[in-house]
C-alpha cells in the first residue's frame, strides 16, 4: 500500500516538475551505465599494464577515459567508483531512514518523558565529533566497507529522527488519529499504519537530500585515505588519486570529479524538486 503511494507520488512529481524528470533521468542513466559498463568494456578494473600507463583518453583499444599510473583502465574504474559511491550513499541513507523514522515516530507519538529521554539521547549523539569517531573506528577495527555504511548512517539518522518526530507530533493531533484510537487500534499499529505513511512525503524529500551528504562524507573519508581501499575504488578515492597526478595526467582528476559533481547536483535538484511538490502548502495549485 505505502509503496504504491510512494510510486504514485514520485511519478506524479516526475510528471509535474521538469527538474525532477531531468535529474531523475540522469541519475538512472548513470546508475545503469555504472552497472552495465564494466561488463561491456574489455578491461578489468584491477588489471595493471605497466606498458600502458598514462594513456590519454582515446578510442584505440577502448581506453575511453585513458589509463592511470598503473596502466589500469580509467573508464572501468570510474564506473566501479560510481557504483561504490552510489551504493554507499543509498545504503547509508536507507540505514538512516529506517532508524530515524522508527525512532522519531516512536518518540513523537509516545510524548512526555519517553520523548524527552529519547531526544536528549539524540542531542548527546550530536555532540560526538564525527570524524574523530570514524578515525577511531578505522583504527580499532580493520578498514572495511561495512564500517563506512555504519558510520555514515549513524550520523544521518539523527537529523531524520528530529524531522520525523516533529511531523509525528503534528500528525498525532489530527482527527484521523483520534478516530483510530477510538476504534481501539493499538499504539504500535497507529504509529506504523496511520502515522508513518503520512510522513513519506517529507521523508522521501529528506532522503534525496541526505544522499549527497553521504556521498560527500564517503568521498571525504576516501580522500583522507580512510575510505575504500585499493584495488576497490570510489569516486572520492579516484579524485584523491587524480590530485597527485594532476600535472601529468589531468584527466585522472577531471573525469571522476565531473561525474561526482553531476551526481551531487542531480540529487540536490531532485530533492529540491520533490520538496516543492510534496509541500502541502502548494496543494491548492
Amino acid at each position: 500500500m505505502s509503496t504504491g503511494l510512494v510510486v504514485s507520488g514520485v511519478s506524479r512529481a516526475a510528471r509535474r516538475s521538469r527538474s525532477v524528470r531531468i535529474c531523475g533521468g540522469i541519475l538512472l542513466a548513470v546508475a545503469a551505465v555504472a552497472i552495465i559498463g564494466p561488463f561491456i568494456s574489455p578491461h578489468s578494473y584491477l588489471t595493471t599494464d605497466f606498458n600502458g600507463t598514462f594513456i590519454e583518453p582515446t578510442l584505440r583499444n577502448y581506453h575511453l577515459f585513458g589509463t592511470d599510473d598503473l596502466g589500469r583502465d580509467l573508464f572501468v574504474r570510474t564506473l566501479m567508483g560510481g557504483q561504490v559511491t552510489l551504493l554507499v550513499a543509498i545504503v547509508a541513507s536507507f540505514v538512516s531512514l529506517v532508524i530515524g523514522v522508527a525512532y522519531g515516530a516512536i518518540a513523537g507519538y509516545a510524548g512526555g518523558h519517553i520523548d524527552a529521554i529519547m531526544m536528549r539521547a539524540v542531542d548527546a549523539l550530536y555532540a560526538l565529533p564525527f570524524i574523530f569517531l570514524v578515525i577511531l573506528l578505522m583504527v580499532v577495527f580493520e578498514r572495511n566497507f561495512l564500517l563506512i555504511f555504519v558510520a555514515i548512517g549513524a550520523i544521518n539518522w539523527l537529523d531524520m529522527a528530529r524531522i520525523v518526530r516533529g511531523q509525528t507530533i503534528s500528525l498525532k493531533q489530527r482527527e484521523f488519529v483520534d478516530a483510530a484510537r477510538l476504534i481501539g487500534v493499538p499504539p504500535w499499529r497507529i504509529i506504523f499504519r496511520h502515522i508513518t505513511p503520512n510522513l513519506l512525503g517529507v521523508v522521501i524529500v529528506y532522503v534525496t537530500l541526505t544522499i549527497p551528504q553521504a556521498i560527500l562524507v564517503e568521498s571525504f573519508l576516501s580522500f583522507l585515505g580512510l575510505g575504500i581501499q585499493e584495488p576497490q575504488t570510489s569516486l572520492g578515492a579516484l579524485v584523491n588519486g587524480g590530485v597527485s597526478q594532476m600535472e601529468r595526467a589531468p584527466w585522472l582528476l577531471l573525469i571522476p570529479a565531473v561525474l561526482l559533481a553531476v551526481i551531487l547536483l542531480c540529487f540536490n535538484f531532485l530533492g529540491d524538486g520533490l520538496r516543492d511538490l510534496f509541500d502541502p502548502r502548494q496543494d491548492s495549485r
Binding site: 482527527e175 484521523f176 483510530a180 476504534i183 481501539g184 487500534v185 496511520h194
Partner: protein, 589 residues
C-alpha cells in the same frame, strides 16, 4: 444613480472552466445588496475582481464600472485612488487580514498616512475615534494591543474600522460573520447597519446564510456556479423566488428555521449513558511556572436514553468538545463518574475494554481530516472490524454493505479520501463509526463544514440510522437550526457549565435561561419581515481562563441581580426544562 456597475464579467483560471460567467449587477449609492450562493459559486471571486485583488493568473474580462469609470484591470496606481477612500473590503478571517506584528492602532494609522487622509498630528486621534465608533470596548487600551490579544469579534470590529476609516462609498463584506459565534454575529451585523446609516455607505454583503441577508439587504443576488440566477428585492426573492435554485435555497433555509423534529422522545427505563458531576480540565500549554488549568467542563450531569439524541449547544469555548472528548476517553476526566449501560466508564480510551470502545464512537467536524489520507476507503472502513475480531472478516462484502448503508456507491471503495467530496467523506466517517454497531454515536460539529443541501442529507442519514438501529446520539453543534432538526433534548452550555437542559420544543418556545434566550434571539431568521434582533448590550464571552464568580453568565446577563455574582446557581427542574438560573422561576423570557 448606480455607484457600482458590473457588466459582462467573466473570470477564468488557466486549465479550468469559467468561475464567473457573464455576471451583471449594480449597486446604487447607499444601497445594501446581498450576494448569496453555496461555496464555490464565485462570490469571493466577484469581490476580489471589484477590488482589483484577483490573483495574477486569473483572466478577467468585462467591465467593473465604479462611479463612471471602468476599473477592471486598471493599474495598481489607479486602483489605489479608489481603495480605502472610495471602496473597501472586510474579509472573513480577521486574524489573517491583520498583521500579527503590528499594534492595532498603528495598523489604522498606517492606512491614514499611506492615503494622506488626515494631517500627521491628527492621525492618532482619528484612529482612536474610529475604534470607538466600531464599539471596541476599552478602545484606548485596545489601540495599543496586538491582534492576537483581541477576541474574534473585536478583531472583526478592527477590520471594519480599518475598512471605513477613509469613509468609502462602498463597503464589500465577504462573509464577515461566518467565523464568529451567533451572539457576536448579531452584534457585528448591527454595527454594520448603524455605520451604514451614519456614513451612508453602500454595502455588498457576501454570505451563504440567507438569514444574514434577510434582515440587512434591500436587494439580493443569487449566484450558482458562477452565474447569476436571481436578482431582485430581498422580499420578492423570499416570497416568490423565480429560479429553481433560489427556490430550493429559500425552502431549505425556511425548513431549518421552522420544521421541528416530529419525533417522540423515547423513554427507556435504563439510560445508556449516565454522567454525574463531570469535571474536565487540562493544562494550557505555556511556561511551566505560569501553566494554568483550564476548567473546560464543570459539574456536568446528564443521561441519555436508548434511541435518544441530545444536542449540546453553546458558543466556541463553552466546553462542548471537551465534554465529547471526555466521554469517549480522548481527554481525562478529573472528577465525577460516567456509567455506560450500568458499567463504570473510566480512564482514557487506551485503558478501556474493547466492548466499551465499541459502544462509543465519534464523528468529527472535518470530514477529510478524520480519514487517514494514506488509506483507501475500504481499508478505512474495514479497520475497526479487523481490530475487534481479527481474522474473521469478509472484507469485500462488509465494505460494500457499509457503503451502501450510508448511501455511497461501492465503487468508491478503492479511492483515497482526498478524491471524495466533503459530504462523501463524512458518509465514510459515519460508516466507519457504525460498522462496530455502537450504542452511542457522538457527532462533534459533524455537519458544520458542509454546505446547506449536503448538510440536510447527512442529518437525514443520521436520523434514519437512528430509527433503524435504536442508536443514541450526542450531537454537538453551535447551529440552533440543526438542533431543531435532529435532537430530542438540548443541553445548553456556557463556559463549561450547564445553563439549561430541556426538551427541544419547549427550549425553542419557552427558554428558561437568559443565555438560551440570547442564543435564540441571535440566530438570523430567513424572513425579511422579521429581521434581526440586535444584542448590542450582550458583549462577548469572557475568557475560559478567568471564569466570573457566581453564575458564569451574569456579566453578560440583562437580568442579573446582586446574588448572581456570588452564588453558583443549581440546575432546577421546571415543567419541561431544567435551568441553572436564580431568577428562572420569576422571569418570563
Amino acid at each position: 444613480m448606480s455607484l457600482l456597475t458590473v457588466s459582462g464579467l467573466n473570470i477564468a483560471y488557466p486549465g479550468s472552466a469559467l468561475v464567473i460567467d457573464d455576471l451583471n449587477f449594480s449597486v446604487k449609492k447607499g444601497e445594501a445588496v446581498g450576494l448569496v450562493g453555496e461555496s464555490g459559486s464565485g462570490k469571493t471571486q466577484t469581490a476580489l475582481s471589484i477590488m482589483g485583488l484577483l490573483p495574477e493568473n486569473a483572466v478577467a474580462s468585462g467591465e467593473v464600472v465604479f462611479d463612471g469609470e471602468n476599473i477592471l484591470g486598471a493599474p495598481e496606481r489607479t486602483l489605489n485612488q479608489y481603495r480605502t477612500k472610495r471602496m473597501s473590503i472586510v474579509f472573513q478571517d480577521p486574524m489573517s487580514a491583520l498583521n500579527p506584528y503590528i499594534r492595532v492602532g498603528e495598523q489604522l494609522n498606517r492606512i491614514l498616512i499611506e492615503h494622506r487622509l488626515v494631517g500627521e498630528d491628527e492621525v492618532d486621534g482619528r484612529s482612536l475615534e474610529m475604534l470607538q465608533l466600531v464599539g471596541l470596548p476599552d478602545a484606548e487600551r485596545q489601540y495599543r494591543s496586538y491582534p492576537h490579544q483581541l477576541s474574534g469579534g473585536m478583531r472583526q470590529r478592527v477590520m471594519i474600522a480599518a475598512a471605513l476609516i477613509g469613509r468609502p462609498e462602498l463597503l464589500i463584506a465577504d462573509e464577515p460573520t461566518t467565523a464568529l459565534d451567533v451572539t457576536v454575529q448579531s452584534q457585528i451585523l448591527g454595527l454594520l447597519r448603524n455605520l451604514r446609516d451614519k456614513f451612508n455607505t453602500a454595502l455588498l454583503l457576501i454570505t451563504h446564510d440567507l438569514g444574514v441577508i434577510a434582515g440587512n439587504c434591500e436587494r439580493m443576488l443569487v449566484l450558482k456556479n458562477g452565474a447569476l440566477v436571481e436578482s431582485a428585492p430581498t422580499r420578492q426573492v423570499f416570497t416568490a423566488p423565480s429560479h429553481a435554485d433560489s427556490k430550493a435555497m429559500i425552502a431549505a433555509a425556511r425548513r431549518s428555521d421552522l420544521r421541528p423534529r416530529p419525533l417522540e422522545r423515547p423513554t427507556g427505563d435504563q439510560p445508556v449513558l449516565q454522567i454525574e458531576n463531570l469535571d474536565v480540565s487540562y493544562f494550557v500549554p505555556g511556561e511551566r511556572r505560569s501553566r494554568r488549568r483550564l476548567e473546560a467542563v464543570k459539574a456536568l450531569c446528564m443521561t441519555i436514553a436508548p434511541g435518544e439524541t441530545v444536542a449540546v449547544v453553546g458558543e466556541s469555548g463553552s466546553g462542548k468538545t471537551s465534554l465529547a472528548r471526555a466521554v469517549v476517553g480522548l481527554l481525562p476526566a478529573q472528577d465525577g463518574s460516567m456509567t455506560l449501560l450500568g458499567k463504570p466508564l473510566t480512564g482514557q480510551v487506551e485503558s478501556r475494554s474493547n466492548e466499551m470502545r465499541r459502544d462509543l464512537q465519534m464523528v468529527f467536524q472535518d470530514p477529510v481530516g478524520s480519514l487517514n489520507p494514506a488509506m483507501r476507503i475500504d481499508e478505512i472502513i474495514i479497520e475497526p472490524l479487523t481490530v475487534h475480531n481479527p481474522g474473521r472478516v469478509n472484507a469485500n462484502q462488509l465494505v460494500g454493505e457499509a457503503l451502501e448503508r450510508v448511501g455511497l456507491d461501492a465503487r468508491l471503495s478503492k479511492r483515497f479520501p482526498h478524491e471524495l467530496s466533503g459530504g462523501q467523506a463524512q458518509r465514510v466517517a459515519i460508516a466507519r463509526a457504525l460498522v462496530l454497531k455502537p450504542k452511542i454515536l457522538i457527532c462533534d460539529e459533524a455537519v458544520a463544514a458542509l454546505d446547506g443541501s449536503v448538510r440536510e442529507e447527512i442529518l437525514e442519514l443520521l436520523r434514519s440510522e437512528q430509527e433503524q438501529s435504536g442508536l443514541s446520539m450526542i450531537f454537538i453543534t453551535h447551529d440552533l437550526a440543526t438542533v431543531r432538526q435532529i435532537s430530542h433534548r438540548v443541553l445548553v452550555m456556557y463556559l463549561g457549565r450547564v445553563c439549561e437542559l430541556s426538551d427541544t420544543e419547549s427550549l425553542f418556545i419557552r427558554p428558561k435561561h437568559p443565555y438560551t434566550k440570547a442564543l435564540l434571539d441571535a440566530v438570523p431568521i430567513a424572513d425579511p419581515d422579521i429581521g434581526i434582533v440586535v444584542l448590542s448590550e450582550l458583549g462577548e464571552a469572557p475568557s475560559m481562563m478567568h471564569p466570573p464568580p457566581g453564575c458564569v453568565f451574569h456579566p453578560r446577563c440583562t437580568y442579573s441581580v446582586l446574588r448572581c455574582g456570588d452564588d453558583v446557581p443549581e440546575l432546577q427542574r421546571f415543567e419541561k426544562t431544567n435551568a441553572a438560573c436564580h431568577r428562572a422561576a420569576e422571569l418570563d423570557l
